[in-house]
C-alpha cells in the first residue's frame, strides 16, 4: 500500500473533527474524500500534508511513517483551494519554486518548469505574472507547481471549486488524464459528488469526522452502505418501513427487496434512475400507483415526481425516445422497480 492512514484523529477543543480515520490506497490510485462541509475531509488532507498535527494516528507513505515530519520534508505536492500562488513571482518562478528549494541549478530548473508548464498546456505563459492569468489557468499553474517536485502523493483541496461549471468539467477530465499519465497517487477533497464519482478510482464518503464508506464510485452510488451515503450521494425515493418476513411494509403497500432483514424498522431508498414508469399491463417486483405532482426538464432526463400512497417518489425518465413528451402534471401513472434495486438501512 502506497498511502496509509492509521487511526488519524484530531480535535479542536471539545469537537472531534477527524475521528479515527483509517484507509490504505495503492500506488497510482486517485482517492476522493467526499463529504459535506465540516465533515473533516480538509483536516484529514492537511494532516497528510503535515500542515496539521494529528492528536493520534499515523500517516505512512510507501511504508515509511511520516507523521512526525514537517511539511517541507514530506515531499508531497499540495494544490490549495485558493491555489496559493506566489503573487510576486512569474508563472515560471512559481512552478520552479520547489526545485529552487531543492537546490536545482537555474537552467535545469527553467527546463523542468517549462516542461511542467507544457504538460498543463500553458507553455506560452511562462513569463506572465500570476494575476494576469484566468482562474482556470491559475488552477493549472498550481497543479504544475505541485507536480514539478515529483511528489510521492499529490493532495488536492477542492481544486475546482472556484471555477465555473463548464470549465470545471473540462479540467476534471484534464486533471484525471495528467494524474494517470504521471502515474501519481492522489487524494482530493471535494463536496461535489459528481466530481468525486467522475474523477476518482476510490471514494471515501465522510461524515462527522468518520469514513462512512470507502469504495469505487459505482459501489458508493449503487450500493451505499449507510443511509447517510445514500442521502448524500445522489437522489432517492425514501420510505419508512416495517420489516416482516423479508418484506417491507410501507403505508399499506408491501415492497420487495433482496435480502431484507426479517424484522424491525428500516429506511428504504430507491434511486430515481432505477425506477421506471410502467405501461398498464406490465408487471414488476415493486409497483406503486400515483399521479404526477411535478415535471422538471433537465435536458438529459425528465425528473418526474409522483405522488403515491407511500409518499412522493422521484422517477428519472430518459429523453432518448419521445414517451416523456406526453407526460402531464396530474396524470395517473404506475411506477415500478426491481427487488434488487431496493436499498434498506435498519433504523
Amino acid at each position: 500500500m502506497h498511502l496509509e492512514l492509521d487511526g488519524l484523529t484530531r480535535s479542536y477543543g471539545p469537537t472531534t473533527v477527524v475521528d479515527d480515520v483509517s484507509l490504505a490506497i495503492e500506488k497510482g490510485c486517485f482517492l476522493a474524500l467526499l463529504g459535506p462541509s465540516g465533515c473533516g475531509k480538509t483536516t484529514t488532507l492537511r494532516m497528510i500534508a503535515g500542515l496539521e498535527r494529528p492528536d493520534a494516528g499515523r500517516v505512512l507513505v510507501g511504508g515509511e511513517d511520516i507523521t512526525a515530519l514537517p511539511p517541507y520534508r514530506r515531499g508531497l505536492g499540495v494544490v490549495f483551494q485558493s491555489y496559493a500562488l506566489f503573487p510576486h513571482m512569474s508563472v515560471i518562478g512559481n512552478i520552479g519554486f520547489g526545485l529552487e528549494m531543492q537546490g536545482v541549478a537555474r537552467t535545469e530548473r527553467q527546463r523542468r518548469a517549462q516542461a511542467a508548464l507544457e504538460l498543463v498546456g500553458l507553455g506560452a505563459h511562462a513569463g506572465k505574472r500570476v494575476r494576469q492569468l484566468s482562474g482556470g489557468q491559475q488552477q493549472r499553474v498550481a497543479l504544475a507547481r505541485a507536480l514539478t517536485i515529483e511528489p510521492r502523493v499529490l493532495l488536492l483541496d477542492e481544486p475546482l471549486s472556484a471555477l465555473d461549471a463548464k470549465l470545471r468539467e473540462e479540467l476534471r477530465a484534464e486533471m484525471r488524464q495528467i494524474q494517470r499519465r504521471a502515474g501519481i497517487t492522489a487524494v482530493f477533497v471535494t463536496h461535489d459528488q459528481a466530481e468525486a464519482l467522475a474523477m476518482a478510482d476510490l471514494v471515501a464518503v465522510m461524515n462527522a469526522g468518520r469514513i462512512e464508506q470507502l469504495g469505487t464510485p459505482e459501489t458508493v452510488f449503487e450500493r451505499p452502505s449507510t443511509a447517510f451515503v445514500a442521502r448524500f450521494v445522489g437522489r432517492s425515493a425514501r420510505f419508512e418501513a416495517r420489516l416482516q418476513d423479508g418484506r417491507a411494509h410501507v403505508a399499506g403497500t408491501t415492497l420487495r427487496g433482496d435480502g431484507l432483514p426479517s424484522g424491525g424498522r428500516a429506511d428504504i431508498y430507491v434511486r430515481p434512475h432505477r425506477i421506471r414508469l410502467l405501461s398498464r399491463d406490465a408487471s414488476e417486483d415493486n409497483v406503486l400507483d400515483g399521479s404526477i405532482a411535478s415535471l422538471d426538464y433537465t435536458g438529459e432526463v425528465m425528473q418526474v415526481t409522483v405522488e403515491t400512497g407511500a409518499g412522493r417518489v422521484p422517477v428519472d425518465v430518459g429523453t432518448f425516445d419521445n414517451a416523456w413528451r406526453s407526460l402531464r402534471v396530474g396524470q395517473n401513472v404506475r411506477l415500478g422497480w426491481r427487488a434488487a434495486d431496493t436499498l434498506s438501512f435498519p433504523l
Binding site: G50, P71, Y72, F80, A84, F86, P87, F97
Partner: protein, 283 residues
C-alpha cells in the same frame, strides 16, 4: 446622467468640506503665515523687519552648523525609523498571525504608549536610563563602569525609536492586509524551511508595508521635538530643537520660520524619493 454625476460630485465636495475647512484653517493658513514670515528680515538688534527677501535663508545656508544639523536630523530619524521597523516587524507579524484570544489585548499593549503623553514617557525613560537609573544601578552593583544613556545621542536614539514604534507597528499591521498564511504553507509543501519561506515569500510581499511603516516613523522622528529636547539634555541638536530655540530663546522668528519651511521641503523631497524607490521595489 450628467446631472446625476454632477450631483454626486457636489455631494462629495460637501462631505469633504468640514475636513477641508479645518485643514485650511489649522494647517494651510499657519503654513502660509510661516512662509511669509520667513521672507522677513532680522535687524542687528534682533527685531523683525517687514520685507520680501531671501536674506534669512541665505544667512542660514551660510552657517555650516545648519548643514550639520540637517545631516544629524536625517541620520537620527533614519536610525529611529529603521530600528523601529526591525523591532516592530516581528511583533506586527505575530499580532497579525496569532489566533490567540489575547490578540486584541496584545495589540492594545503594543500601541498603549500612544495613550501616554510624550513627556511622561520620557520621564519613564530617565528612570531607566539615567545615571542612577535601572540600567546603571545594575551595572554598578555588578562592579561595571556606568554608561551615559541620557543627555546624549544614545538616549535620544532610544527614546525616539520607542516613541515611533507604536505607529510603525500599526502601519505594518495595516500594510500586511491580505497577506495569506496559505502562501507560507504552500512554500513549506514545496520544500521550503520556515526561514527560507519567510525570506522568499512572506518578506517580499510585505515590502510595501515595511516601506510605509518606515516612512511614517521617519516623518514622525524628523518632526519630533519633545524627545530630542528632553532626552538630549540640550546637547543634541536637531532641526526641531533648533526651530524651538530660534522661536523662543533667540526670538529670531524669521529664522525659525525659514527653518520650518526648510524642514517641510526636506521631508517632501524625501517622501517623493521614497515613493520612487518603493514603486521599484514593490512586487
Amino acid at each position: 446622467m450628467n446631472g446625476a454625476t454632477s450631483t454626486r460630485r457636489l455631494s462629495g465636495w460637501l462631505l469633504a468640506a468640514p475636513a477641508l475647512g479645518l485643514l485650511a484653517l489649522a494647517f494651510l493658513w499657519p503654513m502660509l503665515t510661516l512662509a511669509r514670515m520667513s521672507l522677513n528680515e532680522t535687524s542687528d538688534t534682533g527685531a523683525m523687519i517687514e520685507a520680501w527677501s531671501l536674506s534669512t535663508y541665505a544667512r542660514l545656508a551660510a552657517d555650516s552648523f545648519n548643514w550639520r544639523l540637517t545631516l544629524d536630523s536625517l541620520s537620527l530619524s533614519a536610525f529611529a525609523a529603521t530600528t523601529a521597523v526591525i523591532l516592530g516587524y516581528p511583533m506586527a507579524l505575530f499580532l497579525f498571525r496569532t489566533r490567540s484570544r489575547f490578540r486584541t489585548l496584545l495589540t492594545i499593549m503594543a500601541v498603549a504608549p500612544l495613550l501616554v503623553s510624550g513627556t511622561a514617557r520620557v520621564i519613564g525613560w530617565l528612570a531607566i536610563l539615567g545615571d542612577h537609573g535601572l540600567i546603571n544601578s545594575v551595572l554598578i552593583s555588578v562592579g561595571l563602569p556606568t554608561v551615559p544613556l541620557i543627555n546624549n545621542l544614545a538616549g535620544v536614539r532610544i527614546g525616539l525609536t520607542e516613541s515611533v514604534m507604536p505607529y510603525t507597528i500599526l502601519a505594518l499591521l495595516a500594510g500586511f492586509g491580505r497577506l495569506d498564511a496559505r502562501l507560507e504553507e504552500a512554500a513549506a509543501t514545496l520544500g521550503a524551511r520556515p526561514m527560507r519561506a519567510f525570506w522568499r515569500v512572506t518578506f517580499p510581499l510585505t515590502i510595501p508595508a515595511v516601506s510605509a511603516g518606515w516612512l511614517l516613523a521617519f516623518a514622525l522622528s524628523i518632526s519630533a521635538f519633545i524627545t530630542p529636547h528632553l532626552m538630549g539634555g540640550g546637547r543634541v541638536f536637531v532641526l526641531a530643537t533648533e526651530i524651538y530655540d530660534a522661536a523662543t530663546q533667540t526670538l529670531d522668528w524669521p529664522a525659525a520660520a525659514a527653518l520650518s519651511i526648510y524642514a517641510l521641503v526636506l521631508l517632501l523631497i524625501l517622501m517623493a524619493a521614497h515613493a520612487a524607490v518603493t514603486r521599484r521595489l514593490t512586487p
